[in-house]
């Protein structure tokens, strides 16, 4: 008899020592364009899953529609490729039915920010224990290159030949506004960074939102110059570490100083090994700081990468008290049916 593992929450220690990325790899041929950033993200995800050691049988990948949303096919866990934009809602249902599962939600910027913006917002605000990862290529890949809500103003595309006039959405800021308690940012190319971010997201009990800058080689190649160009990355990005001063640059000669009065950040020089009293420490529990970090971007400031914000709280199913085993029995049902005023005809028993 095949039963649901009653002890799903407990890590499978035997497996933990044995699992490799291969254990999370299906026999399905991966069908992204050669050079697509999604390959690197998939690789990082498989590695993190192997390391975390949850049985593939306890892991679920839910996705919407788009290139990024093909993820479930390539992961040897349970998976559900649903409909455009609705993956966070489907995943909420999965979690309510079985809170012990490790549930991941994957969707592109169109999936999460456009058609599914509403569901993303509510999954975040409810703090459903989901790992929501959003490969952001700032374009609609699957439908062949239209501008997306994350596209830069002026982007020329089949649906905006004269250049889009729309302002792009800042995903991290949107997540903050929605009340998310875990917000992180990384990029496909940063294999020394992305796995750590994903690991932290998975470890958080609650909604974890991870924006992953992803290169679409076909329709928006080079959109994220700061993380693409190895020569530029160190100077154009800031890697956050909780409790550490926010220092960046190839020579680690620049720091971020926050002016709490105005809520702004500026770059300050950091002398060779000298004092860093000007430089602000990263505090991932500070909402005001997270807001400032989420907005930092070229040309004046580096792009903040890593965990921007993490303020844990009870997740949705804990607050609701969801438990898969709780079912009403026939005896309870008899009571429910007879609740309220009843009357008896003949000599039947009075309920």
């Amino acid at each position: 008899m095949n039963v649901i593992n009653p002890d799903l929450a407990a890590p499978d220690t035997d497996a933990a020592t044995e699992l490799t990325a291969r254990d999370f790899t299906t026999d399905q041929e991966v069908r992204w364009c050669p050079g697509c950033g999604d390959y690197a993200i998939l690789k990082a995800v498989r590695g993190v899953l192997a390391e975390a050691g949850r049985r593939p049988d306890d892991v679920v990948f839910i996705s919407g529609i788009g290139c990024a949303a093909r993820f479930p096919y390539y992961l040897a866990s349970y998976g559900f490729h649903t409909i455009h934009g609705r993956a966070p809602a489907v995943a909420t249902g999965v979690k309510m039915a079985n809170p012990d599962l490790d549930v991941w939600v994957v969707g592109g910027d169109g999936d999460f920010l456009s058609i599914g913006g509403n569901h993303l917002m509510h999954a975040l605000r409810r703090n459903v224990d989901l790992n929501l990862i959003m490969p952001n290529n700032a374009v609609y890949g699957l439908t062949k290159g239209q501008y997306s809500p994350a596209s830069a103003t002026g982007m020329r595309s089949p649906s905006s030949p004269a250049g889009s006039v729309e302002a792009p959405v800042n995903a991290a800021l949107l997540a903050l506004g929605a009340g998310a308690r875990f917000i992180a940012r990384s990029a496909d190319t940063l294999q020394d960074h992305l796995p750590g971010v994903l690991k932290a997201a998975q470890a958080n009990k609650g909604a974890s939102f991870v924006e992953i800058l992803q290169n679409c080689v076909v329709f928006n190649d080079g959109a994220f110059e700061a993380v693409r160009d190895k020569g530029l990355t160190a100077d154009r990005t800031l890697r956050l570490e909780h409790g550490q001063p926010m220092i960046f640059g190839k020579d680690r000669d620049k720091g971020i100083a926050v002016d709490w009065q105005t809520g702004t950040a500026r770059v300050v020089p950091v002398g060779d090994g000298g004092p860093v009293y000007d430089v602000t420490d990263h505090d991932q529990t500070n909402l005001a700081l997270a807001t400032i970090l989420a907005r930092m971007d070229a040309p004046d400031l580096p792009l903040a990468l890593g965990v921007l914000y993490h303020a844990p709280a009870d997740d949705f199913t804990v607050q609701r008290g969801d438990a898969p085993g709780r079912v009403i029995g026939r005896a309870d049902l008899t009571g429910l049916l007879a609740a309220g005023k009843t009357w008896t005809v003949g000599d039947a028993d009075v309920a």
Partner: protein, 622 residues
């Protein structure tokens, strides 16, 4: 032209033991629905058969005294034959001019009208748009008018209980109730007990209301205010022995879903976004409070449907419920559930459309949407509940079908059934059959679209189960492996398989049956959903007169039950009665091109009256 001689119709006096129709009407603030439910309870306890129909305003707090703020409650009480809330009203209680204005049309000629004379003062008359006082200008001469100073009499009775003048006056609904109780010889004790517990913290309020009720009762006694002659003795009913309760269509859905959960051992996940009139199901289930029944108020109807699908994917019983506009939003998700072959119950409490339409009013116009409203070919079962008690059974059958065949199932209810109440005999819970869930799945050679040879159902492996990890989705699957497939032959095969599931479901359904009137003859009256009571009553009356007319009511709209063609062949004509412009008729005409169908259609936001159906059927019979 007649097949048989018709016996003369029963006259008013012949029907001296006929059921009685009472309608209470007043301002939304007058406690009319409370009156109605108390009268219902008392009628039930006195052994009457009944059917009720609350008619409340769409506005949350309409200005007092206006016609759009009128709240009404109608009940038919009497013998076993009571299947509707009644056509023409025998006794109308109007607590203000606006209530009289909006409800007078329902009162039968010569019917008894009880009005609170005190409320028919200048301001009230103006608000209701009366130029002259109808109680005095002779315009009500065709009725038996009893204009009583109800407000004053209530005040006098209630004030000694130590309440304020205002509190005393608000008891006038109970004064009117006491009078009506007297007229129908009903017991006041259950209402007194209810008042005591309801106002346990303010015993003086309970006492004031009871005093008002007693005063109304005494008034009837002293003035000997008899009911209209034909109602002196309301036919008692002789129901099956058993324990009964009052059940609305909403209660039926709520309890049916709880039962489906208990019978299947699956945790229920009811996911919904508030909308009238379906919200009451969400409220009812939320009140059950987590004991195996989980509710989720989603951010919209799309999230409600997809969260329910997610719950089913993870091994729960996913249910979503909505009304009209919300049903339109769920269409894409229904396609996903059909393609992924996951159990899902979708309840549509239909209301008058299009668009926002008339949210509190009844209509059966979502049938086309339920049968056909999906992109691609996405066949799924569609059932309809014909009344409160039938809602309980239908939703259990829907759950059984969804789980057995791994398919979404739509259950249609409507704004009439949702709020109407009838006496309901509690089922023997131990006798209800289990809903079998097969989780004994062999990982050897497993793939998600491996099927049961008989039901064509795929196996329901759920996350957490060892060795059965698989991927589902809306993209077409290979029937042999469950992998994505664009193979042309495979798509044909999968399309055929999805359709064949309905054929298998049909084979397991009970065959169609004529349930009232003649088994063959001139006319078959065919209906579905909440029109059942009116159709059955009309057909039974006509058949009693000797007419060759039968009644067949469909619960299963897709797949249709077997044997319909044979039954249709036994009648000259099939009259399809529905509260839309002919959706089922058009559907049937396409399937049975040689049958002579005629539509009996109404789309006013109101249920059929028995008289309307009677008149229409007579046309076909003559």
């Amino acid at each position: 032209m007649l097949d048989q001689p018709i016996a003369s119709r029963p006259s008013e006096t012949d029907a001296a033991q006929g059921p009685a129709v009472v309608r209470f009407a007043g301002d939304s603030g007058d406690g009319i629905q409370t009156l109605g439910s108390e009268f219902t309870k008392s009628s039930a306890l006195s052994g009457h058969g009944f059917m009720t129909f609350p008619d409340f305003p769409a506005e949350i707090r309409a200005p007092a005294g206006t016609t759009f703020g009128v709240s009404a409650f109608q009940i038919q009480i009497g013998g076993d034959r009571v299947k509707t809330h009644g056509d023409a009203v025998d006794v109308l209680v109007a607590l203000n001019p606006a209530a009289l204005k909006t409800n007078l049309a329902a009162l039968r000629p010569g019917g008894l009208l009880i009005a609170d004379r005190d409320a028919f003062a200048k301001r009230g008359l103006e608000k209701a748009g009366y130029a002259a006082n109808p109680l005095e200008d002779g315009s009500l001469d065709g009725f038996r008018l009893e204009a009583i100073e109800i407000s004053r009499l209530t005040r006098e009775a209630a004030l000694p209980e130590g309440v304020t003048k205002k509190e005393a006056e608000t008891a006038r609904n109970f004064w009117a109730l006491g009078l009506v109780y007297w007229m129908f010889s009903q017991d006041r004790a259950p209402t007194a007990a209810w008042l005591k517990s309801k106002f346990a913290k303010r015993p003086e309020i309970a006492a004031a209301n009871m005093a008002a009720m007693d005063a109304g009762h005494t008034y009837g006694d002293v003035t000997d205010m008899a009911p209209p002659p034909r109602l002196r003795v309301v036919t008692p009913s002789s129901p099956r022995p058993g324990t009964y309760r009052t059940l609305t269509g909403i209660d039926g859905m709520v309890l049916g879903l709880a039962a489906a959960s208990a019978l299947s051992g699956l945790r229920l996940h009811y996911c919904s976004y508030p909308i009238t009139p379906a919200s009451a199901i969400l409220h009812g289930l939320a009140k059950l409070g987590g004991d195996g029944v989980a509710t989720f108020q989603a951010e919209d109807e799309i999230a409600a449907a997809t969260a329910a699908i997610g719950a089913s994917f993870a091994g729960g019983l996913g249910v979503t419920g909505t009304s009209g506009p919300g049903m339109a939003l769920k269409a894409e998700a229904l396609g996903l559930a059909t393609a992924a072959e996951l159990p899902l119950i979708v309840i549509d409490v239909q209301r008058a459309g299009p668009s926002t339409g008339m949210p509190t009013k009844v209509e059966q116009a979502d049938l086309n949407l339920a049968l056909h409203g999906r992109h691609g070919e996405a066949p799924l079962p569609v059932f309809a509940a014909s009344g409160p008690g039938d809602s309980f059974e239908t939703v259990i059958e829907a759950a059984r079908t969804a789980v057995t065949y791994m398919t979404p199932v739509i259950v249609l209810s409507d704004a009439y059934t949702a709020n109407a109440a009838e006496p309901w005999r509690l089922p023997d819970v131990d006798a209800l059959a289990d809903i079998a869930v097969d989780r004994d799945i062999d990982p050897e050679g497993f793939h998600p679209f491996r099927r049961d040879a008989e039901t064509l159902s795929r196996s329901w492996a759920v996350p957490g189960m060892t060795g059965l990890a698989h991927r589902l989705g809306g993209i077409e699957r290979s029937s042999g492996s469950g992998h994505i497939s664009y193979d042309p032959d495979n798509h044909q095969e999968m399309t055929d398989l999805r359709a064949a599931k309905l054929t298998r479901i049909q084979a397991a359904l009970p065959p169609a049956k004529v349930t009232a009137g003649a088994d063959a003859g001139r006319v078959l009256a065919l209906g579905w959903g909440s029109t059942q009571g009116a159709l059955k009553t009309a057909v039974e009356d006509l058949a009693a007169e000797g007419h060759a007319v039968g009644h067949l009511h469909l619960r299963h709209l897709s797949p249709l039950p077997r044997g319909l063609a044979e039954i249709f062949a036994l009648y000259d004509r099939v009259v399809v009665a529905e509260l839309n412009s002919g959706q089922l008729r058009a559907h049937l005409q396409g399937l049975f091109p040689h049958v002579s169908f005629r539509g009996l259609n109404k789309i006013t936001g109101q249920p059929f009256t028995v008289a309307e159906i009677d008149a229409a059927l007579r046309e076909d019979l003559s």
